[in-house]
């Protein structure tokens, strides 16, 4: 911030709190005219929150925002749009049955009554020509590809006079060729004097497109406004995942037992019908914690779902303790002792309006002693919930309280209590500590280690590298649905490289090459 006049956006000391989470902790950010400034960080680091504040969607608890050196106070997204800020969300906000032009005009004062579509079609066409955003103004949205729809969103913002464009993980939905297109567009817009904030957790793209990079981690800035050409991918990876090991966890050394989970050559699609897993194979033995590292969205969630029977795989075999569970219903896995701590606590792992009791019996209600023939033994269920409340320190006035009223940490304890108390043979833990405070994190990690000592096989999927390093016996790294390699010595540099798509063989070849020199 040497040259004040250059800055079109300055955010100072932004604080945004959500129940139980400090999403932005005194964050400073600045954007210069005519630059692409990337906001890098893991999922949940607070990138989107910060930008939602800038776009007027959230109101910060503290902090000030200056646009073109004037202090602003946005009460709604409309205020932000008037100030020239346009945000393009991950999920497009378009009307599928209307044309491109109609979508662009939606909600504007002009045209007033007569649509005069022909005239506006031409305007839109001119504009798309100017910024290299190729799209037919007369086409209906549903006929367009995802990449084209994104262009419509960008045009929408440009048409509203946006000078500052916020792109929230724009490449997540795009094919590689479309990403190239998008980058071209971004460059031409910057050339016209517009400024772009590019939110991403993909290092390659950030390196390619940005002028400067700000890295967020757990709601705090770890690096502000680094010039992209002065920094390496490895440095950024380290800033993003951090390497400060917070806890001294006592991890007993123990010999892993026999193979509990074996996954062979799994292929599976994600919800959008794109191959998310492309031939994943791995093994987890009893009494060991195996970590799966990787930047979010590289197939981790899909893998967890395939193993637990929530997603069908198109190819491959899942075996648990020798039984073939490939594409079997979820209940069979539960019966065979698979427990699953899902990534999404509120939408998958719990039922918000049901009581704590109803939530802890979710996987036990149909078996004795709690399930008794047709009935549920309510007295026993409540007693069981009481016991769990005691032993897992769930802070809640009564076990009849609906779980939507619980804090994030307490809700996670409810889920852990349920999943661990069934003494699982295999545990799939996805992001078990995400969004929790320090104390709660340690509690969860201790519980996982206790399970390891009890002989459970644990697959720990996490984006917290330090957590993986301190808990796991071995770590696999996944990238774009493929396993890049396996690390047993906790070499963070190696893991970082594999997370960005370098295969283990390549790294070893490189090291070998150096040795030969």
């Amino acid at each position: 911030m040497t040259n004040q006049e250059e800055n079109v956006v300055v955010m100072k000391g932004i604080v945004k709190r959500f129940p139980g989470v400090l999403a932005n902790d005194h964050v400073d950010f600045s954007l210069r005219k005519g630059e692409v400034h990337s906001l890098l960080g893991e999922n949940g680091a607070g990138k989107s929150t910060l930008m939602n504040v800038l776009a007027g969607l959230y109101r910060p608890e503290a902090g000030t925002i200056y646009i073109n050196n004037r202090m602003v106070n946005f009460n709604s997204p409309l205020d932000a749009i008037h100030a020239g800020i346009g945000m393009i969300h991950q999920h497009f906000m378009l009307v599928p049955s209307q044309t491109v032009t109609e979508n662009i005009l939606l909600g504007l004062e002009e045209p007033r009554f007569r649509m005069q579509l022909g005239k506006y079609d031409r305007k839109v066409a001119e504009m798309s020509e100017r910024f290299g955003l190729k799209v037919d103004p007369k086409a209906k949205i549903w006929q367009l590809s995802v990449g084209e729809q994104q262009r419509v969103e960008i045009l929408k913002m440009l048409y509203r006079g946006a000078n500052i464009l916020i792109m929230d993980e724009p490449t997540a939905v795009l094919a590689p060729s479309e990403i190239e297109e998008l980058f071209k567009t971004l460059r031409s817009m910057v050339g016209e004097g517009k400024s772009v904030i590019f939110i991403s957790h993909k290092l390659n793209e950030v390196m390619e497109i940005s002028d400067r990079v700000t890295v967020l981690r757990k709601g705090k800035v770890t690096a502000a406004g680094l010039a992209a050409r002065d920094v390496t991918k490895e440095e950024l990876a380290r800033l993003m995942v951090g390497r400060d090991v917070l806890f001294d966890l006592e991890k007993k050394s123990q010999q892993a037992g026999k193979v509990v989970l074996s996954v062979e050559n799994i292929w599976a699609e994600n919800d959008k019908g794109v191959m998310a897993l492309r031939g994943v194979s791995l093994e987890v033995r009893s009494g060991e914690i195996v970590g799966l590292a990787g930047v979010a969205g590289n197939g981790q969630s899909e893998l967890a779902e395939v193993i637990t029977g929530l997603r069908k795989c198109t190819q491959g075999v899942v075996r648990v303790a020798g039984d073939d569970l490939t594409n079997k219903p979820a209940r069979q896995g539960i019966r065979r002792g698979i427990s699953h701590i899902p990534e999404d606590r509120t939408h998958v792992g719990s039922s918000p309006n049901l009581s704590v009791t109803d939530n802890v019996i979710m996987k036990k209600y149909d078996q004795p002693p709690i399930g008794r023939g047709w009935m549920i033994n309510a007295v026993l269920a409540e007693k069981y919930a009481q016991e769990l409340k005691q032993s897992y320190d769930i802070i809640v006035p009564s076990v009849r309280t609906p779980v939507r009223l619980l804090s994030g940490g307490n809700l996670q304890r409810v889920i852990l209590a349920r999943e661990i108390s069934s003494t699982p043979a295999l545990m799939i833990a996805v992001q078990p500590t995400r969004g929790l405070d320090v104390g709660a994190i340690e509690g969860v990690q201790r519980l996982l280690l206790a399970q390891r000592e009890a002989g459970a096989a644990i697959l720990l999927i996490s984006e917290e590298l330090e957590e993986l390093l301190s808990l796991s016996d071995r770590i696999y790294v996944i990238y774009e649905g493929q396993i890049m390699g396996e690390v047993a010595d906790g070499d963070i540099e190696k893991i970082g490289l594999m997370m960005t798509g370098v295969r283990q063989e390549q790294i070893e070849a490189r090291v070998g090459g150096v040795a030969h020199d």
Binding site: P19, R59, E61, A62, T64, M71, N73, N75, T308, G309, L310, P329, A330, R331, Q332, G333, I334, H340, P342, D344, H347, V348, G349, S350, S351, P352, N353, L354, D358, I361, M362, K363, Y365, D366, G371, W374, M375, I376, A378, P397, T401, P402, L405
Partner: protein, 377 residues
């Protein structure tokens, strides 16, 4: 909603601001009940203003309504007769809505229940004169519920198999049901060309209180029939299913969070079909009890929209089967008293106002209103 940010506003225009915030803590257990009560009080006050504006005397109008529906044993009995089908259709909707399955077809299922019960006598399957009464009634009950369940099964199966929107399909099934009944009424079972079947033999009627007036003279003329027992037993059973059974747990879990249910290994498609069938069976039972308890013959227009009123009752009762019973009695009273003062108009208006107030009162369950001083948060 007035909102001011504390720090960035140089000049304070308001010292106080009213804030509407979502409730993050549990409300006291008495709070919802008090809220509903206050909503009804407010509704009656609003109604009083309107009656007064129309030139009526609100107090005497209300007194009249109360007298016309609860004033004597006789009218209370009539209130109950109206309440019985409402209880059953209310239960039918509550069960389905619990699973967020929008069964709008209780009306058609009611008609099919009436058809099923009548078919036992009119086909005939059993003779209404010679069969022992309890066997006859039991068979009619089963037939009514089965036909209702069948009518629920169709949209349920379509939803489970082809993801057909159950709101549309169950609604359309209503019209088919009415037309189906009319075919039998006009073409097959008509009595001398009238659009009704012959009267059933008394042996096929559900016992009414007045049937016992020989032993208990006070029961003379009371038409409350045995369907009330069906409805009350059904309410208890449905409550039991929902809150104490494994199946009910699955229903509640799917209704609250289908993803969590899948994660817990529960089959959603299977439950969609089963719950639609249970819902249909309950509405069918309502039709059966109306035919055998009140109408005593198969004819047109046996329902004054019971299936649709059931939807409203289910919501007002917050889908609680036991509260459905109470709400149904209140609605029965309004239906009855309505005809006492005016064929339509004021009574319908009061019904509507109560409904709106009750639904609006939900706002206070989910949000709290806080008056804050500037700068404080």
């Amino acid at each position: 909603m007035i909102e001011e940010t504390p720090s960035s506003q140089p000049q304070r225009r308001f010292t106080f601001a009213i804030r509407v915030e979502p409730r993050l803590t549990e409300t006291a257990s008495w709070y919802p009940a008090l809220l509903s009560f206050m909503a009804i009080v407010v509704a009656l006050l609003l109604g009083a203003v309107i009656i007064a504006a129309a030139g009526g005397d609100p107090i005497s109008s209300y007194r009249h309504i109360a007298k016309a529906s609860f004033g004597s044993l006789g009218v209370f009995s009539d209130t109950m007769v109206k309440a019985i089908p409402l209880m059953l259709t209310g239960l039918a909707c509550s069960v389905a809505f619990r699973m967020r399955l929008w069964n709008i077809g209780a009306e058609g299922q009611f008609y099919l229940g009436a058809f099923g019960a009548s078919a036992v006598i009119l086909l005939p399957i059993l003779s209404d004169k010679d069969t022992p009464r309890w066997i006859l009634i039991l068979v009619m009950l089963v037939a009514g519920m089965l036909m209702g369940a069948l009518w629920g099964f169709i949209p349920g199966y379509l939803k489970a198999k082809f993801n057909v929107n159950e709101i549309i399909s169950s609604l359309m099934m209503n019209y088919i049901a009415i037309a189906w009944n009319n075919y039998w009424i006009f073409a097959v079972w008509t009595e001398g060309g009238f659009q009704m079947s012959r009267m059933f033999d008394k042996n096929a009627w559900l016992p009414r209180l007045t049937d016992f007036s020989k032993t208990v003279p006070a029961f003379r003329g009371l038409t409350t029939h045995f369907g009330l027992v069906f409805a009350l037993v059904a309410a208890v059973i449905v409550w039991f299913i929902l809150y104490r059974s494994r199946w009910g747990y699955e229903i509640r879990l799917i209704g609250d969070n289908p993803k969590a249910a899948e994660y817990a290994g529960i089959s959603i498609t299977r439950n969609v079909v089963l719950v639609m069938m249970l819902s249909g069976a309950l509405a069918g039972l309502a039709g059966m009890s109306e035919i055998t308890g009140v109408v005593h013959r198969f004819q047109e227009r046996i329902s004054s929209g019971y299936g649709f009123t059931g939807i409203i009752i289910a919501w007002l009762a917050k889908l609680n089967p036991l509260v459905v019973v109470v709400v149904s009695i209140l609605f029965g009273a309004l239906l009855l008293a309505g005809r006492e003062i005016q064929p339509s108009g004021i009574p319908k208006l009061i019904q509507g106002i109560i409904l709106v107030c009750l639904i609006a009162s939900d706002f206070f369950l989910r949000y709290q209103i806080r008056i804050v001083r500037q700068g404080e948060d």
